[in-house]
Symmetry: C2
Subunit: 629 residues, 2 copies
């Protein structure tokens, strides 16, 4: 099966489209994809060379002498880079890029051991200790990324060298881990979703069974944990079907849940879906930052308690937002509920995108909502999981924009795009979208191809939009029905029909649940899908910690081409700067000693959160205390 | 020189008294000392046996076969236990306890290597890798605790076996680390203050020079750091004299500063004192919790940014409060400034004491200001630095109560106590204190011995006290002078003179600097030196996160014998419980969607912070949001 054909999941309500069926044809995300294609991918290749990832494989392959460099999971960064290349090749064929990737694949194949085993760290450093540290050894994690890359590369190019490497390794793993051989679960989930995808690609049920086996092995409360965190760090406290909260290492939790939801998509086991829904509710009602960031603690890069959402020492790893997008994307396919797409949109535009600099060559690992300064983007990271994760997500971004089912097409995200799909009985349809989203909320959708028989077009109404309107061929669409957050338009569409969706974007102030201590009596600015922040650079001679926002003053959205290397819509607000004088260096004092603190008015300029940290190191904050006394 | 004689430090303004010159004769701290003597010390001995600390020495001594158990610094817990025993023997001679300690000392001596080296971890596990990992190996840290225990034990008992062990090891260290041999500084400071004390005990300047050498070696920005923290984790970013902020691992920072201040006490080098004062200001103006707790981050058990003071994920390690007491005690001796005693008092009654359960047999390592539940005291800890640190602090607590100089006596802390001192020319004086502190603020001080010539009695007026009054023999003391927070009473005292110091204790509400995000719009209750907290157990069927305090309602202090295993003064306040209904599971919403949230009145009962966590696991909070809307 190749990506050019549809990929059907047994228990999907809505089905994924092949990547080359959705093309982002300009505007916001197309620019990010161009940056990724032109800059980030080759920057990544150079960094993988510099950081020793390729050398590790060369040493393992016997092509070079030397020491293993970097963390044990270095191979996985190469695989993620290859997966990103595969998506690029699907949408933008490029023989030079394919040759570059083929050379990397040759190297990977050379590093594979005779029995199929493949991991440069263990091969070089601990050859006698394969599978000796499942909790932290990352062999199965690396294998998972190998499999994902291989499936994607085969679908993109039709070549099978990498897929053969991956299936040989997957077969070795299946021979190693099973009830007759040995127990064990990956300390870092990832291989679960990879094996389900390998099953989809090969049709070999052995891989689906192995994914299920690993998922069922969890919850024996045996894994070592990290620091003060016990087995919950590894999502090993209770079995998956009893796990009703998100806890422990955030990326691990998201990757596992993506794998579990994939398993549900193929088996339809209700207990799995029930656990997923409980965990999802736990996450979005108490453990997700406004940016969609996940992970409240540096300790274990982990989820915290409900409502433990510190702006400064949150972790919000870029990979956690990406992992959540993977999971929510699968939940959306299962349920057809726009709440999952709302989370995807929040994370795409904010907590994920903040991970990549506007120059395409610098990265954030943590994505805090408050920096007092001293935190900067890096050209690469000692633990470099995030950069190639960004590359593969951006390269495959089109697939998140739309799905289809037998009766129609569903549009989840908005950007200039061309979408083609097949309905039941091979009925081809095609749409094109024009919009300046996320800067403006008008989306023009034209039906480019249709057979004249009725079908449903479902358009997501974002949770942030309170007054959406729709017109068809210039006439207001009255009495549209809503289904789980989607505007349902059913009609015998004709080529040239134009649907106009208006999602007016006013800047708004939002507040957090009062159980969240860290942002009490504070507000944040949102506009459309974007969360905004203040950067010190736009507020000269002021300590951002002393700024208070006047919630009674109007907010104004203004296109600004002068603030950043790219044009953005900024939001202007009014506020005051509180003098510190009244405190005379005290950290605590009696409430009744409080006296009038002098205040100076200030104009506040907020920029989109994702764009912060692109003008050198400086302070930043998302949540702003209210000016009221 | 023995502890029975005075210990003079060259650059001390005020001088430490021998431990047996201050006796806590009843009341609050005497009860804690009794608990420590009767319960905690022997519990500790049993735990040291159970956790393998003694076995490690037995194996190193060749008396037993087996594997090393526990972290590499296990020996240090034994040394701290011995140091605590030494202080007990000074104030409460006990032949059975001394025999028990002597047996431990025999074991330590047997584990010492022929060349003087002593460390069971390296001897057993990595015999060929001595001094190979100064950053994390803890050999010098353990040596420091050995030296401190040896000096204390010699002063207590006059026996020299442990001192001989310690000096042999110290000599080996001095031969190993010097400009002619090798460079290096301890990854965990501790030996610096120990070596200064060894110099004081032996008069051998080599040890003072070695302390100075280690201190001067810091700041080469070479140590490895931990996690995202670089050399600042180890206080190795800049040289000590340029270090103007507290940063990195909090216990390491405090121990280093205690050692640096000790060095100043012997050398009088102004640059050292200047750096100490800058760091102290940085700490108390932005990095100290209300409880005196230190360390804002789990990551590296470290100080955070200024104003980064989260109530929940603060670290506030018991040992950090203890280390700060060590440092502030030295700064007090240098300066005679009550601000250092204010910090000591805050930490003693709150952030240190919270580390020990009311039963004397359970411990907190972290001391958060907010627990949402799930955090409990343990009978011992895998990393057991805190329990024996509590033991040695409590056993030596008397010394923090008073100092002397040629012209008089200074009283820093209040408890029932008998204090004797010698002024200039061997003039003996004695005082006795009677008080129900910290429950009431009346302190009666009687002059028991004096030669009739004038001398100064300095009484600390705590920073929390705004309306202190003093009377002498029933007459108000008019026109007393104040010196850096001390009430100075100079007079030709007669035996039987009675000074009455009244420090009225009203419960008060305090607030934090508005740059502290985590407790914005919240208040905490203090009364006298005690910080209060709410425990869920005293507020049935209420989520503590929903409680708001009515700042306009009166606070009432009430003696309660029914709440806890011990009698305490509780504080009652009024507040409301906010219903969550209005939020319908949302975590964020628009400010203008805010609607009236139903509120129910509630009576709030606050208990002293140190006493929380003694009735099983439950939620607790120090900072309470204000009820105003």
């Amino acid at each position: 099966m190749s990506e050019a054909t549809n990929v059907y999941f047994a228990y999907a309500r809505w089905r994924q489209l092949p990547l080359n069926s959705v093309s982002l044809t300009g505007g916001f995300w197309a620019e990010w994809q161009n940056l990724n294609r032109r800059t980030t991918l080759q920057h990544g290749y150079q960094m993988l060379e510099k950081a020793g990832n390729f050398d590790n494989l060369r040493i393992a392959a016997g092509q070079k002498e030397g020491q293993f460099r970097g963390p044990a999971f270095q191979d996985s960064d190469i695989y993620k880079w290859l997966e990103a290349v595969a998506y690029e090749l699907m949408t933008h064929p490029d023989p030079a890029l394919q040759r570059q990737a083929d050379e990397v694949i040759e190297l990977i194949a050379a590093a594979q051991q005779d029995d199929g085993y493949l991991n440069s760290y263990y091969t070089i450093v601990e050859p006698d200790r394969r599978w000796s540290d499942l909790d932290f050894g990352h062999e199965l994690y690396c294998a998972g990324h190998l499999i994902e890359a291989a499936v994607a590369y085969t679908r993109a190019t039709g070549t099978t060298q990498l897929l053969n490497v991956a299936t040989r390794f997957a077969d070795l793993i299946a021979d190693t881990f099973n009830p007759q051989a040995r127990e064990g679960a990956p300390g870092h989930p990832e291989i679960e979703m990879a094996l389900v995808e390998l099953y989809r690609e090969t049709g070999n049920r052995r891989y689906l069974d192995l994914a299920a086996y690993f998922i069922d092995q969890r919850g024996k409360n045996k894994m070592r944990g990290l620091g003060w965190l016990k087995a919950e760090y590894h999502q090993d406290r209770v079995p998956v079907r009893q796990q009703d909260v998100v806890e422990g290492h955030a990326v691990r939790a998201m990757y596992l849940n993506a794998g579990v939801t994939d398993l549900y998509l193929e088996t339809g086991e209700q207990a799995l879906l029930d656990a997923m829904k409980k965990q999802w509710r736990d996450m979005v009602t108490g453990k997700m930052f406004l940016t969609g960031g996940l992970g409240s603690r540096y300790e274990g890069e982990a989820f915290g308690d409900p409502y433990e959402l510190p702006s400064d020492q949150c972790y919000c790893e870029t990979c956690a937002a990406i992992g959540s997008i993977f999971w929510n994307w699968r939940m959306l396919q299962v349920t057809g509920d726009s709440r999952y797409a709302d989370v995807i949109e929040r994370q795409l535009y904010n907590g994920m995108l903040s991970g990549l600099a506007l120059d395409g060559k610098h990265f954030f690992y943590m994505n805090p909502l408050l920096s007092r300064g001293g935190y900067e983007r890096q050209e690469w990271l000692g633990c470099a999981c995030c950069p190639p994760n960004l590359m593969r997500l951006l390269a495959s971004l089109g697939k998140y924009f739309a799905t289809h089912d037998e009766s129609g097409v569903q549009v989840h995200l908005y950007n200039n795009a061309a979408i083609s799909a097949e309905l039941a009985s091979g009925r081809p349809v095609a749409l094109s979208l024009q919009t300046d989203y996320p800067w403006e909320g008008n989306i023009r959708i034209q039906v480019d191809k249709t057979d004249g028989a009725p079908w449903q077009l479902c358009l997501r109404r974002p949770a942030w939009s309170s007054n959406a309107t729709v017109s068809i061929n210039g006439q207001p669409a009255e009495a549209t029905t809503m289904d789980a957050g989607y505007i349902v338009l059913e009609r015998a569409w004709q080529p040239g029909d134009v649907i106009e969706l208006a999602l007016p974007m006013e800047p708004v102030l939002v507040m957090a649940h009062p159980r969240v201590d860290s942002v009490r009596d504070s507000v944040a600015i949102e506009r459309g899908p974007l969360v905004y922040c203040l950067e010190a650079r736009d507020h000269a001679n002021v300590n951002l910690l002393d700024v208070r926002l006047d919630e009674t003053a109007p907010l104004e959205a203004i296109r600004r081409d002068d603030l950043l290397p790219v044009s953005i819509v900024a939001v202007q607000a009014s506020g005051v700067v509180e003098s510190e004088n009244g405190w005379s260096g005290k950290l605590y004092r009696r409430l009744n000693e409080q006296n009038g603190v002098p205040r100076q008015p200030i104009q506040i300029t907020a920029i989109p959160y994702y764009a912060w940290g692109n003008r050198g190191e400086n302070a930043m904050r998302v949540w702003i205390p209210r000016a009221r006394r």
